[in-house]
């Protein structure tokens, strides 16, 4: 997917790590505390997480630390993961649904180094999954925690930039403005023109940003058996959706929420249910569609091959 660039010498291509199965635990770099953060910082973050779980969808401010990865690259998710990770956890990191995107690789390597935990590319094997922009296709279970990286936790920020004012709106559940925006979308475009980061109501009380996952993934959040945690490092907010909590995408009765997906089958595994990436294959308009969730796709291909 990525090579160092045009310079001929550095090798590119070739899969970095095993073939997707769990990698045994690594020796952690003892120059750092387990999972990088010191224990009192972890405790502070866990308190914020507990508060978030107690008030589903409510954004809890927390003392976000400067991490060795840049803000906007997953510092919130990394701090949440660092605070909940134990030595026996199995960690999966995805970005855009894939385990081998550069940032996912980099975050996985970070935790191998500072926590020495086992990592995996298989959704089913993971106990903690840190994600940017996707929810895995395979249904998650009660034993799993999904940690979202969140660039902008405030769902109202495009309508109201002042944080003090949006806090008041949340406190009073004053969400008419969000519906006005959806109304305007339909009046102008004939349908709600939000295709990702599509706002949701959590447990009928708090309006929440699901992070920039495609709207296609929104229904997976509803009554999910796994705990969902959201970390926004730069904006210094944590929020949560406890297992089996109702998460509803905003809509109108006569313009119901519709998850969008490219109307094609995956060119590799043939799936017509999964979310697809469009891949340009040549400069004459040629393109194919493939699963964005690489683990899901690999598994289906293996099943198909075994059946043949």
């Amino acid at each position: 997917m990525t090579s160092a660039a045009a310079k001929p010498s550095p090798p590119s291509g070739g899969r970095g790590l095993g073939e997707g199965g769990a990698q045994g635990a690594y020796a952690h770099d003892t120059g750092y505390n387990f999972a990088y953060l010191d224990e009192s910082t972890k405790r502070m973050i866990r308190r914020a997480i507990l508060k978030g779980v107690a008030i589903p969808g409510h954004q809890v401010p927390f003392g976000s630390r400067e991490m060795p990865l840049p803000y906007g690259w997953g510092t919130g998710g990394i701090q949440v993961t660092a605070s909940i990770l134990g030595p026996s956890d199995v960690l999966k990191v995805i970005d855009q649904g894939a385990d081998d995107t550069t940032n996912a690789v980099s975050i996985r390597a970070f935790f191998r180094r500072v926590a020495g935990v086992a990592t995996t590319e298989r959704t089913a094997e993971a106990t903690v999954i840190q994600t940017r922009h996707r929810i895995p296709e395979r249904q998650l279970t009660e034993g799993q925690i999904l940690v979202y990286q969140v660039p902008m936790p405030e769902p109202l920020f495009r309508l109201e930039a002042r944080v003090a004012e949006t806090k008041r709106m949340h406190a009073l559940a004053d969400y008419g403005l969000m519906h006005v925006k959806l109304y305007e979308d339909i009046a102008r475009h004939g349908h709600i023109a939000t295709s990702y980061n599509y706002p949701v109501m959590v447990d009928g009380r708090y309006l929440m940003s699901p992070s920039p996952i495609p709207a296609f993934d929104n229904p997976k959040m509803d009554r999910m058996p796994a705990l969902q945690l959201f970390g926004a490092g730069r904006e210094k907010r944590i929020y949560a959706v406890p297992p089996y909590t109702a998460v509803r995408s905003l809509d109108f009765e006569d313009h119901p929420f519709r998850p969008i997906r490219a109307p094609h089958a995956c060119a590799l595994c043939g799936s017509r249910e999964s979310y697809l990436d469009e891949v340009i294959t040549d400069d004459r308009g040629g393109k194919i569609f493939v699963c964005s969730d690489t683990d899901y796709c690999t598994e289906r291909q293996a099943t198909k091959a075994a059946a043949e």
């Binding site: 401010p61 927390f62 940032n103 690789v105 349908h191 295709s195 730069r234 194919i288």
Partner: protein, 358 residues
């Protein structure tokens, strides 16, 4: 058949190796030592300490070297390192009144107790490229220095305050907020605002400070005083129970004097804009003082509609480590969101075409 390309991990490794190679540059040239950076690129080191929010010249110089001279990247390195340091406690407030002064100027008085001390400044240099610096030579001769003045150097603003002409800041025993432990909350008090500004990006604050001079904020500032020098850092270890001096750090302090027309409860007087940064950073300290005063507009009952007077706008956007991260994160893949938008735009185009055809 199409096969998705893989290999993020190897590519990252190779990219890092290449980065290290370009950092070193031409191997035929001698390598720059951290000590050389600390000594000869001192202002870069100072800026990295200020924006990196960590006073350690050696580490800052190392960060400058590691970042190939990218000072925001260097500040980021220092900040990430700072996260891992244990905290033993808080020092006593710095007493800049007792500063060992290297430079001290006032624009409001021609002469004053303690005198005007120019110090090592670019101010009156002609900005002509000095080609003699291209050749290695002997070190310059030592500058002639006046006898150090042992008389105390009172702060200019204190002279005004004694006359009742300068608003005094209300001393407070309350624990000041700590941005590195607690997220910003609004309205932010002055201690927190100053903390954010002290860590803030020099360029951003310079632009904002400048805007208050150009009518976006209606400021009428005078440099009451700029002082640069070393101050002692004092700390009371709980196990000792008395104060000890940990050492000296270099800082730059700027106090801007601004007019204030008075309000229902306060008579007309001057008010203060305050700037304090690690190392020698006059531009930053001055910009900080201008913006600090701008942010006080609302509490002083002045109109507060210019950008430099908006707390949320200034404080949320002045941190260059946060800003860099979020701007540069646009380089990360966004295939998934883009794909959603692609389908969305295709749908909208279809219905628009259909409507146009009808």
């Amino acid at each position: 058949m199409y096969v998705a390309t893989k290999g993020g991990e190897q590519a990252i490794g190779a990219a890092h190796a290449w980065l290290a190679e370009t950092r070193r540059g031409d191997a035929a040239l001698p390598e720059l030592s951290v000590a050389q950076i600390e000594e000869q690129l001192g202002l870069a080191v100072d800026r990295v300490m200020a924006e990196g929010s960590c006073h350690d010249r050696g580490l800052a110089a190392l960060a400058v070297k590691q970042a190939k001279g990218d000072l925001i990247e260097a500040a980021f390195l220092l900040r990430a390192y700072r996260t891992t340091l244990p905290r033993f406690g808080a020092t006593a407030p710095l007493d800049t009144g007792a500063m060992r002064i290297r430079r001290r100027i006032s624009a409001t008085y021609k002469d004053l107790p303690g005198g005007q001390v120019l110090g090592p400044t670019f101010d009156y240099t002609h900005r002509l490229l000095d080609f003699s610096l291209t050749a290695a030579g002997l070190p310059p001769e030592a500058a002639s220095q006046a006898e150090p003045d042992t008389a105390p150097t009172p702060r200019v603003t204190e002279l005004l305050a004694r006359e009742g002409l300068m608003q005094r800041e209300q001393p407070s025993e309350a624990e000041p907020g700590d941005l590195t432990r607690e997220p910003l909350r609004f309205p932010a008090d002055r201690a927190v605002r100053l903390q954010a500004l002290a860590r803030g990006d020099e360029g951003f604050l310079l632009g904002l400070g400048y805007s208050t001079q150009r009518g976006y904020g209606n400021a009428h500032p005078f440099v009451g005083e700029i002082r640069v020098g070393d101050v002692a850092v004092c700390f009371t270890p709980p196990e000792l129970g008395f104060e000890i001096e940990l050492g000296d750090i270099g800082v730059t302090e700027c106090q801007m004097v601004n007019q204030f027309k008075g309000s229902r409860t306060e008579p007309p007087q001057f008010t203060r804009g305050y700037g304090l940064v690690f190392g020698h950073g006059e531009r930053k300290a001055m910009a900080m003082a201008l913006v600090d005063r701008g942010l006080r507009a609302a509490e002083l009952g002045e109109e507060a509609d210019a950008p430099a007077q908006q707390q949320e706008f200034v404080l949320y956007h002045c941190d260059n480590v946060e800003a860099t991260g979020f701007v540069e994160h646009l380089k990360l893949p966004h295939y998934v969101d883009f794909q959603s938008d692609l389908e969305n735009v295709r749908t909208m185009r279809e219905s628009a075409m259909k409507a146009a055809a009808e």
